[in-house]
């Protein structure tokens, strides 16, 4: 009997292996599997880390002694800009995204993330965006205005070369990747946890990643908008940030730091999640205060959005406003402190098993707490003024970012290395790596606090001898190279362990979370069968769970249909709701990202027809991507043996696609709100704001377009509801009619724009109005195109009475389009009239 069971389990594993395998050879580029892509994210991030580190060492060489000319001022400017850019955008965020992509499905008992093609697309956007930015460095035309690209230093007047364009376009490309990952992780965590894994029993790491993903969704759009506006200003002369035209350079700072400060926590929270995951494992007991930690993570996620102005205390903001942000900046230390105390209490009350990952966690605690304390100092406005733009700020930032992110990431590396390689790393080399890194880091940056307090400004390529900075700078530089030695030691350790590391036993750290229930290294499908859980610590409470899962004794232990599947569950309780069928290997993500790379490079070269061609190509590819869904032959065609107990998600009314649409629209809404913020900010604060004497936009046609859009939306809603109720009679015709009315609405709106007497290159007022109108036009066009697609799919039998799901997925987009239309009418046209502006 046992032999027969083993044979059946073996057959199941082989079958799943065939269904989930990546394509061989170059076909691996079409992989959509989260394990493969998570690893690619992390390896690519590590390479960018080495490049950023190399730039740092060159800068420290330059600053080691006074009055050196090893690298000139121009190159130094490029280096510090690229160092910050590479480390923040191409290393810190992506490597943590990669870690989350790799781990989350395994921790929640899923076989993959919920939108695998989106993961692949995100990776390629990241890779191509990063390469485009690096290309500028290789060509010697890298951006040189600092990693936060303040205007007017980065504007066409003071940065006429292409460096700023490389930054703006490349970073926006990379941000598409981050947004895709944010949507992906949010929906995956909420909707694909294994049966019984409620929110309260979710691994604590998933809470951190959920909050991080939502922070990406809300935090990145302000910078995306700012980058688009600045690139338009540089390319076409629309004066969003130019005082002469009524713009304001401070607007850039607001939009940048609306992203930039949450970004610090986007980076810190996953790393803190690693700490909250590892400490209980090495303490041999559950995390103390799970609820308190969840509370503090959620609170941090929100409060961190209310701190952005503390980066701008010196720009002339009223004292009262500064006080608001100062208090909020101090307040955010409270939830962080809750976590620190929870970690200490867990270690205190547990039986600590000392190991290399824990040593990195200890390093994190020391360094990050120091960084947090200098953060509270910087939250005090008078002190902030005193040390603004000095090395003190540089030191603080590195204590927070390296302490708060890199130390936990290296702990994670040593902790999960056996998971991805199946081998253990060397303890001796690992300890050498830690101590060299720890000593080198503190030597470099502790001393930098002193050079800062003694007045050394940041971003100067050299300094005079005898100012009291000489010895400190030399020691800082020596420390930088010692730290580099630590990194080299870690690289050697990791490289050697693949050859010489001893075989890792199953669950080598006696961890409690499900990722250790996979084989080491994991199979592409993660688990043969998906368990029903009732515990927050499944592997502690059910030590034989990995064996029973591998034997196929739990849910979804079938592969006869040849589909990739995972379980869809309720967001709160983890009750099974549907079976989610997942796409297999696909070239579309790579091709879509390549098309966007064509757009990016064409814009850099100012080759606008080529850029338009790239946009059209990308749109065609994305529509094809959308086409291969639902009951399409390449997805899950209707069959006689449809599952009885749980429906496939494409046959349901609330599948993950709907959640993905809603989360994407939240991000889109954040972008729109950023535009509204820009409008009101310029209106109230820009010193040269001017309003034209005559109203530029005709109200009546605009209102007519809005009325038509409202009718279209109502008709669409009715068609979708009727399909849900099983009445698909004439559905295709109705969708074509809706599309036709949508085209008329779009035409009216386009006429409003054509007829508008805007002078966008002369007035920031008109430039913002132009962006608003284009935003509405793009959304209306997209809604119509997607409805046409639905109408076509009705014709093919992909959408109908039994299959109303896709109509429901599209419905929020129509609602959003209608909502922003009327909000725009109120905020951009009505309100200014009430203020007497026009």
């Amino acid at each position: 009997m046992t032999d027969r069971n083993n044979a059946a389990a073996g057959e199941l594993q082989q079958g799943l292996g065939r269904v989930w395998a990546n394509l061989p050879g170059l076909g691996a580029l079409a992989a959509v599997n989260h394990t493969t892509l998570g690893l690619r994210f992390m390896v690519t991030g590590a390479v960018f880390f080495l490049i950023g580190g190399l730039l740092a060492m060159l800068m420290r060489t330059q600053l080691a002694l006074p009055e050196q000319e090893i690298i000139g001022a121009q190159l130094y400017n490029q280096f510090f800009t690229m160092h910050g850019t590479v480390m923040m955008f191409l290393f810190a965020i992506p490597i943590l995204e990669g870690l989350a992509i790799y781990l989350i499905p395994k921790m929640i008992g899923a076989r993959d993330l919920v939108f695998p093609r989106l993961t692949a697309f995100a990776y390629y956007c990241y890779l191509f965006g990063g390469l485009i930015i690096l290309l500028s460095l290789v060509m010697g035309i890298a951006p040189d205005s600092g990693w936060f690209m303040y205007t007017p230093l980065s504007s066409a007047e003071f940065a006429p070369g292409p460096g700023s364009d490389f930054w703006l376009l490349g970073i926006t490309f990379v941000e598409i990747s981050a947004m895709a990952t944010g949507v992906e992780l949010t929906v995956s965590i909420l909707r694909t946890r294994t049966a019984g894994m409620s929110l309260r029993s979710m691994p604590i790491f998933c809470w951190y990643i959920l909050v991080m993903a939502l922070m990406i969704v809300f935090g990145f759009p302000p910078l995306i908008l700012a980058s688009i506006l600045l690139e338009i200003e540089r390319a076409a002369g629309l004066p969003f940030f130019a005082v002469a035209g009524g713009g304001d350079p401070i607007l850039w700072q607001h939009l940048f730091w609306l992203f930039g400060h949450p970004d610090v926590y986007i980076i810190f929270l996953p790393a803190a999640g690693v700490v909250s995951t590892l400490i209980p494992v090495f303490a041999g007991r559950p995390l103390v205060g799970y609820r308190w930690v969840v509370l503090s993570v959620i609170t941090t996620g929100f409060i961190s959005f209310g701190l952005w102005v503390h980066h701008m205390f010196t720009v002339g903001i009223p004292h009262l406003a500064q006080a608001f942000f100062s208090v909020a900046s101090m307040l955010v230390a409270v939830p962080t402190a809750i976590q620190v105390f929870a970690w200490i209490a867990t270690l205190w009350s547990g039986r600590v098993a000392w190991s290399l990952p824990l040593l990195w966690i200890m390093g994190f605690l020391v360094v990050f707490v120091c960084g947090g304390l200098t953060g509270v100092m910087l939250a005090l406005v008078p002190f902030n003024w005193q040390v603004h733009d000095t090395h003190f700020v540089v030191a603080h930032m590195h204590y927070v970012m390296v302490g708060g992110m890199l130390f936990p990431v290296l702990a994670a590396l040593y902790y999960w290395l056996p998971h991805l390689s199946g081998r253990m790393a060397s303890q001796r080399l690992g300890y050498w790596g830690f101590w060299l890194f720890f000593i080198g880091f503190n030597m470099t940056f502790l001393l930098m606090h002193l050079t800062g307090l003694e007045g050394m400004p940041r971003r100067v390529y050299t300094y005079e001898a005898g100012l009291g900075w000489d010895g400190l700078n030399l020691l800082s530089s020596v420390g930088g190279f010692v730290m580099g030695g630590g990194v080299a030691m870690i690289i050697i350790d990791v490289a050697l362990h693949y050859r010489f590391g001893r075989q890792a036993p199953a669950n080598p750290w006696n961890a409690d979370t499900l990722e250790w229930a996979t084989s080491l290294p994991p199979a592409p499908y993660n688990f043969v069968s998906l368990p029903t859980l009732s515990s927050r610590h499944p592997l502690w409470d059910q030590p034989d769970l990995p064996e029973s899962m591998a034997a196929g004794q739990h849910g979804l232990a079938t592969m006869a249909h040849g589909r990739r599947e995972t379980l869809g569950t309720d967001a709160l309780h983890g009750k099974p709701r549907e079976i989610i069928h997942l796409p297999t290997n696909s070239w579309l993500p790579l091709l879509g990202a390549l098309a966007l790379a064509v757009v990016c490079i064409s814009l850099l070269l100012r080759a606008y027809p080529a850029a338009l061609f790239g946009v059209a190509l990308a749109a065609a590819l994305f529509l094809r991507w959308s086409w291969e869904n639902g009951v399409h032959l390449k997805a899950a065609p209707l069959a006689d043996d449809e599952p009885d107990d749980l429906p496939l998600h494409s046959r349901s009314c609330d599948g993950p696609g709907l959640w993905g649409m809603v989360v994407s629209l939240l991000a889109n809404g954040a972008l729109y709100l950023s535009l509204l913020f820009a409008w009101f900010y310029l209106w109230t604060a820009s010193p040269g704001w001017r309003v034209p004497d005559e109203r530029a936009v005709a109200l009546l046609p605009f209102l007519a377009a809005g009325a038509l859009l409202s009718i279209v939306m109502a008709l669409y809603h009715r068609a979708a509801i009727r399909a849900v109720q099983g009445d698909a009679e004439g559905l295709g015709t109705r969708l074509w009619q809706i599309s036709a009315l949508g085209v008329v609405h779009w035409g009216l709106l386009a006429w409003v724009l054509y007829d508008a007497a805007l002078a966008p290159t002369e007035l920031a007022h008109d430039a913002v109005l132009l962006v608003m109108l284009l935003y509405l036009l793009i959304h209306s066009a997209l809604a119509v195109v997607l409805t046409v697609l639905q109408a076509l799919r009705v014709g093919y039998g992909y959408v109908g009475a039994r299959l109303p799901y896709e109509l429901l997925v599209l419905r929020p987009f129509w609602i959003y389009t209608l909502g922003v239309f009327w909000l725009s009418f109120a905020a951009f046209l009505l309100l200014p009239m009430a203020w007497g502006g026009q």
Binding site: L199, I298, G306, P318, A323, A328, Y681, W683
Partner: protein
């Protein structure tokens, strides 16, 4: 929703506070000589106290939901964390809003 409602209210209040200050200063800046005793600070203070009271009320409602969550661990979790989120949000509103007592708004 209970897990984030308090903080959403905090976020909206924060935007209104900062935006209201900017708009107030742009449209009708109070006399500097009045210090913190002016119409704008008074409006911001009322807004702050009202928002704090609302959050405390919602937190209390959430806490009272304990009774109906008896035996349901998931609901208990939501009730406890939700009540704490409301309480923390109320504290955040009060603390961030306190400077309106001391500082003039537009300089």
């Amino acid at each position: 929703m209970h897990l984030v409602l308090g903080l959403i209210i905090w976020a909206v209040w924060f935007v209104v506070l900062y935006g209201g200050l900017s708009v107030g200063c742009a449209l009708a800046p109070p006399d500097v000589a009045l210090g913190s005793l002016n119409w704008l600070n008074a409006v911001l203070l009322i807004l702050t106290l009202g928002c704090t009271a609302l959050l405390l009320y919602l937190g209390a409602c959430c806490w009272q939901g304990r009774a109906s969550a008896d035996g349901d661990l998931q609901r208990q979790f939501i009730v406890h964390v939700g009540a704490a989120v409301h309480l923390l949000s109320a504290a955040a509103v009060l603390l961030v809003g306190l400077p309106v007592f001391a500082l003039p708004p537009c300089i």
